[in-house]
Symmetry: D2
Subunit: 343 residues, 4 copies
């Protein structure tokens, strides 16, 4: 049994970590921290978790967390970087679900996140935790930067095509739609039911922090510059990301279906749909699966890939547990094979 701690257990990703880990057969949850809720039962804040959970929130305290074998950070950006060095030093393995260790270049990170990085030297040591791309490095990592929700959906969607070689003047356009839970549990007017319900809108056009993250990963895959446009939208549902991905100027002779199916053969959580089938976010709601379809409409040079995940599972807590499984040498899928909740 791996003893785990969760820092920042009161947001949606923290709650989702709890939902998954409470049923994980190889895990014992040792500590869940919250500055604001310390002393209260976790099941009072999240009654969907059975009272059998029997856990109370505690104050975040590095000393206490050092007794854990694995610590998940589900806290706001800029929290983990202040605590991780001490934990790593103590031999604790860490998965950060926030953005502190996702960008390799400290200057780029600081310009997008508008603060100084507290431990830039750890940026190179951190492994970007997309198992389908970095499984080996994750296995030996002490610090994993869990990918953002949008980057997970986008990168999985274009990975096979980019690995097969991207023409020089190609454009990659990622039109991504997220459920409102992606905005977190902090109250703000735009996330109110009366504002976000029966409404569709784009936000942070040309200014979303997942753009440099996606770009870094794609350029790593291509070993070349990638002309990336990324537009995030909010859609009136709670969970789910739907990424519609366009790659222009592609080689029309490519057997896309074969390329995708081969690339993800054996992957436990990526399912390439048969030709003609289309993914829907509801099919992965509550599950760790990514479902993909690839097509070349109108026989043109533009390829269209559709990629769906649950933003809180494969886009956050589920992938974090998948990373933990790999880091500790467990079966990668243990504790993660729940079906989606449909309807």
């Amino acid at each position: 049994m791996i003893s785990v701690g969760i820092v920042g257990g009161t947001g949606y990703t923290g709650a989702e970590l709890l939902r998954i880990l409470v049923d994980h057969p190889e895990v014992r949850i040792q500590a869940v921290t919250s500055r604001g809720e310390a002393g209260k039962p976790v099941s009072a804040l999240f009654p969907n978790l059975s009272p059998r959970l029997g856990l109370d929130f505690i104050q975040p305290d590095p000393a206490g967390l050092k007794n854990c074998e694995c610590v998940f950070f589900a806290a706001p950006n800029g929290t983990a970087m202040h605590m991780v060095p001490e934990l790593i030093e103590a031999g604790v393995k860490v998965v950060d679900l926030a953005a502190d260790f996702r960008i390799r270049d400290a200057a780029v990170w600081e310009s997008w996140y508008r603060q100084a990085h507290a431990c830039p030297d750890l940026l190179q040591a951190a492994v970007y935790g997309l198992p389908e791309l970095n499984r080996e490095q994750i296995h030996s990592a002490r610090l994993v930067a869990n990918p953002g929700c949008y980057p997970t959906a986008v990168v999985l969607g274009v990975l096979p095509l980019l690995e097969s070689g991207l023409p020089e003047h190609a454009h990659v356009i990622a039109d991504a739609k997220s459920g409102v839970s992606g905005a977190g549990r902090n109250p703000n007017v735009h996330a109110l039911f009366s504002e976000a319900g029966e409404n569709f809108r784009a936000y942070n056009v040309g200014a979303h922090r997942h753009w440099p993250e996606i770009k870094q990963v794609l350029q790593g895959v291509c070993a070349a510059d990638v002309n990336l446009t990324f537009t995030p939208h909010l859609t009136p549902m709670v969970r789910g990301i739907f990424a519609t991905l366009y790659v222009t100027g592609t080689d029309r002779s490519l057997d896309l279906q074969a390329v995708y199916q081969e690339r993800f053969a054996g992957e436990p959580f990526v399912e390439v749909l048969n030709h003609g089938a289309m993914p829907e976010t509801k099919h992965v709601r509550g599950s760790n699966f990514c479902r993909l379809s690839v097509q070349r409409p109108y026989e043109g040079d533009t390829v269209v890939i559709l990629s769906v995940i649950d933003n809180l599972v494969k886009g956050a807590a589920g992938q974090a547990v998948q990373n933990m499984n790999i880091m500790f040498g467990l079966d990668e899928a243990v504790g993660l094979m729940q079906s989606g909740l449909f309807p």
Copy 2:
């Protein structure tokens, strides 16, 4: 391992049975029938279920079902009664999720369901499958009538109060609100997103088939006539039932909180909330729990009980599996302890 069959696997309750049973450690799904989809993979119709399920729909055929130890009927009303006698004869245990065996009096059943009953002699043998009321009889039953969704929420809500004695002129008023999945998967205009979304309405006022079912159970508990008013409503969400229950003319000296907590102490799936806490349907979404609160507002003689369940789980498939667990001598909660999906 219990080998089970599911008749009528293409509706929402059938899909939910599959979602639960596929992860049940003591069950092997042997057969899932569908007239319309026979030959197709189950995961093609319900992609939320992993392809690892590896099951195809088959034609409903009593001969094949006789090899199962337990058969669930998730088919329309009037289906099970034509197949159950033969299965019971062959030693198969049956849980009917439809209404064929819920009403003890064949004449009453026939007047509400507008057809002749095919095996009225089995009505007395059938056990009404509300474990919190009939656990012992379920344990030895060969045929269990799984309760309706509304009756489950309503009966659990008023049970402790009625067992403590109902004054002569008391009224029981059940104002119940259901998610739209209760209307099933058959397309009809009223269940369209554009009609049911952003809308709230009552339906079948004074004419819902769950009224005689609730009345029968409550009168069994009271051993007296019960003045019951039941109003079902449709609320714009997919899953969940919220029952607001009013009992007038009650004894003001009753310690309601104590009565309820004692009655359900030890029940694995009924949770009586602490005084002041209120249940929400979202806290039981996808789980088999019923959450209850009881209060006497304005210190009057009217008691208000709030009762929530997931209509597809505790209100259908989950309770059916709970009944199977009891019928086969398993731990009642095995395979049913999933947390609700929140948010």
Copy 3:
């Protein structure tokens, strides 16, 4: 043309007042105040209103408002009572959409609203602005207390029955469901899309401020004590109130349909549905109509009335304009005959 001012134009009722008044043929909007948004164009905050509106928010200032003929208060409770005396003194007619003048007894008001009343002497002068009940007094009023959203739906629903005489031991039970816009535009966790969406819950059970308001009105109608239970719920839609009203112990010989149709004959905004038809909130979305049905299910002594309104229109801004029309001797329906938005 009546020159009007709106105090507190940034909440949902303020926005709805603007939507209605901008198309009102007899009104000129002279001032819209907001402490926080003063100086900004109204159409920047509410882009659903055409830029042709050409209005900027201004600071609330009694001096400026005194130039208006009619001032609407769409501000939080406890705001109007500090400004109304000066305005009334200056000859301005006032409609308060908040609760400052709804309760006649200052002590009762203070115990429910937890503050001292600033002008208790005006409580008797204020007219409760339900036109279907108090049309004559509204016509000559200088200060109208616009009813709460729940009280409007509940009182219209039981009015004809109560006017026909309520038996001594009758109970009135009001089970009311509101869209989330009723919670206002202030960000709070419970009103977030991810919390309120796909969720149904009750709130303020036994403690909602509309209970004393409804009770006062009903007791005025009956000239007797009324045993009232009122349970408000939140349903996952933006607009609409659905009140399911139960009155027990009624006289079974009453021709309910006739009583209701006669009572509301000639009312421009109350529609009693034909026997068997049922109201839905969506049919009044965006309109000033109240739609009602009345039935006696199971031929019992409990009458069930269903009453629907749009909480922001007949439950707030529309009714306020209806009151203004009456106060100024206009056709009561002018500017208010828009159809509901369906679907």
Copy 4:
């Protein structure tokens, strides 16, 4: 007063025509046809329309319709083409809200709509009813083909950019999201609340009938081939279209904001937002406005335009009335200036 007829008044576009026309000061609705509902009051089917409407559905009958000055077809594709020649002959002006007259080339139309065209000779006479593009021809037209909902949002969004000249290798990518009312009022499983709610999906990828329509219009504007990719999606709301439009390879020296504002200056129903403001579908819900923003994110060669309309208003019934206003020489905006319904 123009006497108008509506053929096919029982779908959502028919209902929306009624909602708009009933308040149009220059229109008298003379006939509303429905094969299935003939003889029933219109307000029984659409209770959002006041009973004062006083209209019953009648059987569709060319003889009766010939007495109208203007006939709207809100019927399924392939209906209007059988009745229009006779009406035109009789001097009636026609606006077809379906697709019968949108494609100029009969062979293309027949291949996409899979039926023979009944009056191909009228295809050249019909005017494509996008006022912002074809105002003059609409003014003198006897037959107007009202644009599809997606084409309206897409064409308005890229029109100024394409008129300024499209580079040779540019791609136009239209990622469009529609509310579920776009699927119409016919019951089908995919449009059920339980399927479409809390779900996001694409459909008809590479095979949607609005692709050839958009392509025809854009190529008419450019007088050149346009490399168009169009992906329609369903988003869980009732009304609204949000089109995210990408044009690659553009001239970076273009002052986009100025180009767009100049192009649409004076247009009553197109609003180009200030730099940095973003459109939301909810801001045009129930209104005839199209709101647009244009940006060049990351200073690249890809331009991103966001375009929102209400699919039932500017995307159907509202634009049809706008066309009628133009055809009859009325002020183009008469009867169409309602504010959107927010929230």
